[in-house]
Every structure is written in structure tokens, then in C-alpha cells.
């Protein structure tokens, strides 16, 4: 599952995209909803947990926390940006 990163999330991760395993060989839980994905990413990148608003898009639509995600979905993390 590939995740496109925008704004500060790009800086936190240090790359414009991020790959999340979709089949677990390690026995770790694979995220199945937006909420689980946020928690999964927050474990690896604790800085993400600090964002008070972080929009997640699934297939180019804003997704609520309970939305189910699949390996073929296109996902984007879109935090607010403030520069002018």
C-alpha cells in the first residue's frame, strides 16, 4: 500500500511517499481502516500523533476514521499547511 505524503508529513517521514506492508510476515497487525492506519503510522513516526488535524484521503476522497482500506487503495496524508 503506497501512501502519498503532503506538507509536514513529508518532512516527518523524509520522503514524498511511504510504503506500508499489506501482507504480514512478521505477525504484526496490518491496518484495515483509516484509524488503524493512523495508529500504525503513528507508531513508526510518533511526530504524526502530534498533528491535531490530519486529513486522510482514500482514492482522492476525504475519508473518515472508520473507512475500510485495501491494498489497492490510493491513500494520501494531508495535514494543514500555513505558509503564504
Amino acid at each position: 500500500m503506497t501512501i502519498l505524503l503532503f506538507g509536514i508529513t513529508k518532512d516527518i517521514v523524509g520522503a514524498p511517499t511511504l510504503s506500508v506492508p499489506t501482507a504480514s510476515v512478521t505477525g504484526k497487525k496490518i491496518p484495515k481502516t483509516v484509524k488503524e492506519l493512523k495508529a500504525f503510522l503513528g507508531n513508526t513516526y510518533p511526530e504524526l500523533n502530534k498533528l491535531s488535524s490530519l486529513a486522510v484521503a482514500v482514492n482522492n476522497s476525504y475519508a473518515e476514521d472508520d473507512q475500510v482500506i485495501n491494498s489497492y487503495d490510493e491513500i494520501a496524508l494531508i495535514p494543514p499547511v500555513s505558509g503564504g
Binding site: I8, A55, A76, P80, S82, G83
Partner: protein, 354 residues
């Protein structure tokens, strides 16, 4: 020859479109990287009334992206420079000069006279203030924002459509997302995004094309890729009854500060001082200055007994950011008292006095 012939000859724009522009009133909040290109096009194309709002001066580090300004303009009020240049560009435009920053006290009064607001600011508090004021007044606003090589554009609150809070319900703290001053921006990016904002404002005024409502345009300059994200209205975001009591003051507002070293000297002089530490109880218990009173940032109202009896109050936190927020709040609440933010906070105190 009509100066607008090149656009009135467009079948889908025509003299009708031009007339709508001529009757249109657009407020541009912020005369920086986004506001200038937006204004130059809105003015060139013949928008009848333009509101200019800013209180900053032209500074050297602006010139890399704020291309209307020249070296001769350094130190001048942006408002004056922009007025001068835009009047020369189009003498038919009516300009309203708002020599102020947008605040919770003036926002409704200023915005009510316009058809569209262009949010060309550089900080979250003003963006949330613009959103809430526009929702209350039922005005659309064209949003543009930048981060490094990236720009975001959308039109919020357009004909009952989604608002800024539908995407981002909670205002980020100053600590979590850096602004341009801290993060940097490639000079050409605001030119692109501000120009997109002008285009959307024109569409809102004239009704041509498809307004970018319910869609967030994400532009990445490095890959030249644009993505559009759809989002929906959360109806509760339209039910705002009044502005919030408190929007964090603008980042550009300066609060009185004292260097950690100087504060250390003050402590050693055994002067009788009032020091409020706005960190959490946990942080405070872990390490504190013995003179400090702990009033966490989320319960500042508890500080009143300590403040009312003195004239000067020093405020500290871990790094100096939360204490800055606290000082701004205190200043509003106690305009007759003096507050000082201790620069660098406990981090600096540690290095000064190991």
C-alpha cells in the same frame, strides 16, 4: 479599443462577465507571496473594488517571492506600496485600504462589505478567523496555502458548500506545523498558488466554469503533479453562531521577551519576581525553578490571583513557545500589567545554569 477586449471576446465570459467583475468586491487578506499575484490579476482584469489588508513593512527577505516589491520599497508599509502600484496599473479600480491585521474584533465589520475573500495569510489563527467570519456572513473565501515546494488551493463556504473546518476541524498549535518563516518556501510557488486563487475568485464572481468547492487542489512543484481531493460538508460547521472568544494572536505580533541569561541574573539578584510556569504538572514536577508557580497552559484562568497583586509577570515553559502563547493571552486579559516571555524556556535555563 476596450482594455478588456481580450477577455470579453471569450464566448463564455463576454461583456456580461466583465460587468460582473466590475461590480465585484474582493478582499485580499495579506499582501505577501499569495496576495500580490492574486491582486495584480484581479486588478488587471477589472474587478471593481479591491480591499487591501496588511500592516507589515516590506522586508529584504520578502523580495524573493513578493515580486511586486522592489529594493526601493524596503521599510515602507506594504499597504502604501501596493496601493501606489495597483492604482498605476488600473486607475478605474476602487481600493479600500485596511491598515490593520484581521482580528476577532474587526473581521465581521470588514468582511461584510465584500463578495469574496481571498485568504492570502501565512498563519493558522487568521485562516480559522477568516473561515468563521465567512461562515457567519455567508461569504465564500478562496483559500491558498504553502509548504516548501507545495501549494494547496480550495474555495470554502461557497453556496453552502464545505468549509475549512470540514477538512481541518482543529486549529494546529504553533509547535506542530511550522510557518514559512521557519520552514521556507520556494519563491515561485506562491506566484502559482496566488494566481490560482485569482482564477477561483474570478470564477466565483462571474459564475464561469466549475468553482473549486468541495475539492482541495494539491500542487507539488517538484513533480509538477496536481491532485484533487474531494471532501464533503459537515453541516455542524455551518452552525457557528459567533466568533470564538479567542483566536491565537498573529505570529507576527511581538511579545515582550527576556533572554534566559538576563532572567537568570534577575533571579540571582534576589529580586522579588512573579514567575509562572505554563508547562504541565508532570513536566513541572520533573524539573522546576524554585520561584515558579505552575499554571498549565490549558488552565491559565487559575493565574488571576497571582497576577492581580503585581505589575510584572515572567512566563516560562520548556522552549519558549507555549509561554509566548500564554503571554499573548495574559496581555489581552490584563492590559495594564506587564508580561515577559522567557526566551528559550527551561531548555535555555538548563544550559545557562547547569
Amino acid at each position: 479599443m476596450n482594455r478588456y477586449a481580450r477577455q470579453t471576446q471569450l464566448k463564455d465570459f463576454g461583456p456580461e462577465g466583465q460587468q460582473k467583475l466590475n461590480q465585484g468586491k474582493v478582499l485580499v487578506v495579506g499582501l505577501g507571496g499569495l496576495g500580490l499575484p492574486a491582486l495584480q490579476y484581479l486588478n488587471a482584469m477589472g474587478v471593481g473594488t479591491l480591499g487591501l489588508l496588511d500592516q507589515d513593512l516590506v522586508e529584504l527577505h520578502n523580495l524573493q517571492r513578493q515580486v511586486l516589491y522592489t529594493e526601493q520599497d524596503l521599510g515602507r508599509l506594504k499597504l502604501e506600496v501596493v496601493y501606489e502600484k495597483l492604482s498605476a496599473q488600473n486607475s478605474q479600480t476602487h481600493f479600500n485600504l485596511h491598515d490593520t491585521f484581521l482580528t476577532k474584533d474587526n473581521a465581521l465589520d470588514i468582511i461584510k462589505d465584500y463578495d469574496v475573500v481571498v485568504d492570502a495569510t501565512d498563519n493558522f489563527p487568521t485562516r480559522y478567523l477568516i473561515n468563521d467570519a465567512c461562515v457567519l456572513l455567508k461569504k465564500p473565501f478562496v483559500y491558498g496555502a504553502l509548504h516548501s515546494f507545495e501549494g494547496h488551493v480550495s474555495v470554502f463556504n461557497y453556496q453552502g458548500g464545505p468549509t475549512y473546518r470540514c477538512l481541518y476541524p482543529n486549529m494546529p498549535s504553533t509547535e506542530e506545523v511550522p510557518n514559512c518563516n521557519e520552514n521556507g518556501v520556494l519563491g515561485v510557488i506562491p506566484g502559482i498558488i496566488g494566481t490560482f486563487q485569482a482564477l477561483e475568485a474570478i470564477k466565483v464572481l462571474t459564475g464561469i466554469g466549475e468553482v473549486l468547492s468541495g475539492k482541495l487542489l494539491l500542487f507539488d512543484g517538484l513533480s509538477q503533479q496536481s491532485t484533487k481531493i474531494g471532501f464533503k460538508l459537515n453541516p455542524k460547521n455551518l452552525q457557528i453562531k459567533k466568533l470564538q472568544d479567542y483566536y491565537e494572536p498573529l505570529d507576527c505580533e511581538v511579545v515582550p521577551t527576556i533572554a534566559a541569561e538576563d532572567f537568570q541574573l534577575l533571579l540571582e539578584s534576589k529580586a522579588n519576581i512573579t514567575l509562572i510556569d505554563v508547562r504541565t504538572e508532570e513536566e513541572f514536577t520533573e524539573r522546576k525553578l524554585k520561584e515558579a508557580i505552575n499554571i498549565p497552559l490549558d488552565s491559565l484562568e487559575l493565574a488571576s490571583t497571582h497576577i492581580t497583586s503585581v505589575d510584572k509577570v515572567y512566563v516560562i515553559c520548556q522552549s519558549g513557545k507555549r509561554s509566548e502563547v500564554a503571554v499573548k493571552q495574559f496581555q489581552k486579559q490584563y492590559p495594564n500589567k506587564q508580561f515577559f516571555n522567557i526566551l528559550g524556556g527551561m531548555n535555555k535555563i538548563a544550559s545557562v545554569c547547569p
